[in-house]
């Protein structure tokens, strides 16, 4: 965000963390990396019935450079793995990763030569969502988990 670099007093930094984290957690910009049926379920997550915008994360960006929440939704093949890594690297700090569904988290039932056995082989993951595909409530629950994680962070850690 850049604000944290301006704060030098320790007391002020503690209070600033709360302000910055409050801003971050209610305005996450997701970058959808949808490769399979979980991405169809994500349409339900962003649409009006479940509506992820109630949690401030509705502004879906299709450029990783404008996003801070990477949603990996679907099977990741070995051929695609370096692409996912590149997209993660292109996202500016601070950034969080949500692994949606069995395939992204563990490879799912694709226990074979072509599928990455969980995206945590390539990039760090903050929250795993179980399900094949997960219910939209489940995904929103995971977004709330990431909010709770942001609450515990210090802004300076992301420098």
């Amino acid at each position: 965000m850049g604000l944290e670099t301006q704060v030098t007093s320790p007391f002020l930094a503690t209070r600033m963390d709360e302000v910055i984290n409050w801003g971050r957690k209610y305005s996450m910009w997701p970058m959808p990396f949808g490769t399979a049926c979980c991405a169809i379920e994500f349409m339900g997550v962003v649409s009006s019935r479940f509506d992820i915008s109630r949690f401030g994360a509705e502004l879906v960006r299709f450029s990783p450079r404008q996003a801070d929440l990477l949603l990996v939704m679907g099977t990741i093949t070995q051929k695609q793995a370096p692409v996912l890594k590149q997209i993660y690297d292109q996202m500016p700090n601070p950034k969080w990763v949500l692994s949606m569904g069995a395939c992204a988290s563990t490879g799912g039932f694709y226990d074979n030569y072509t599928t990455v056995q969980g995206i945590d082989e390539i990039i760090p993951v903050d929250v795993y969502v179980a399900g094949c595909p997960p219910r939209p409530e489940n995904v929103i629950g995971a977004v709330v988990k990431i909010m709770e994680k942001i609450d515990r962070e210090k802004a300076a850690d992301w420098r």
């Binding site: 070995q78 051929k79 370096p82 692409v83 590149q86 030569y113 072509t114 056995q117």
Partner: protein, 178 residues
């Protein structure tokens, strides 16, 4: 009205002793031939029997395959299957090519049907069967750093192979345009 059995009879009449095996299962007829006869048989099907469409080219690995009690072991390890369709006569037919091992090559038919280009690449990628005179015999499904052939029965089921960097041609395969 031509049936699959009629097609099989015509192919057998024309090629006789060069057919290694011919059988039918639930109305689906198959002939098995040697690689050297492939182009001749497919051209006969295309030009004489109006099989204008090559539907699919697939591979099979029969390593360790059990044909059931009383059946001999197979003389060839691989088969390449050509699925044909005649829209003029509304009939389907399939031709199998017996490939003894990986040292045997199969003539490419990409100049007869353009789709064979990609289909043969897939068979090569998955089974390691080489197609002679193919213009671009590269991997099509597995990544460029992949070693071995994944659908062979002796490929270890738990072996994983990572790709170090995104493929140059992942969005547009320019080798096909050139």
């Amino acid at each position: 009205m031509m049936t699959e059995a009629d097609v099989a009879a015509k192919v057998q009449e024309r090629f006789g002793g060069r057919i290694l095996a011919a059988n039918a299962f639930r109305g689906q007829s198959v002939v098995t031939i040697a690689p050297k006869d492939l182009r001749e048989v497919l051209l006969f099907l295309r030009d004489t029997l109006a099989f204008e469409w090559l539907i699919d080219v697939g591979g099979v690995d029969y390593l360790g395959y059990d044909d059931g009690p009383g059946k001999d072991e197979r003389e060839w390890r691989f088969e390449v299957v050509y699925a044909m369709l005649s829209m003029a006569n509304n009939v389907r037919f399939r031709v199998k090519v017996a490939v003894a091992d990986e040292s045997v090559t199969v003539p490419s038919v990409w100049d007869l049907w353009a789709i064979a280009n990609w289909e043969e690449r897939e068979v090569w990628d998955m089974y390691g069967i080489v197609f002679e005179h193919h213009p671009n015999l590269r991997r099509i499904l597995c990544h460029d750093e992949f070693v071995g052939h994944a659908l062979r029965k002796d490929y270890p089921i738990t072996r994983r192979q990572k790709l170090s960097a995104p493929s140059e041609n992942i969005l547009c395969d320019r080798s096909e345009i050139a």
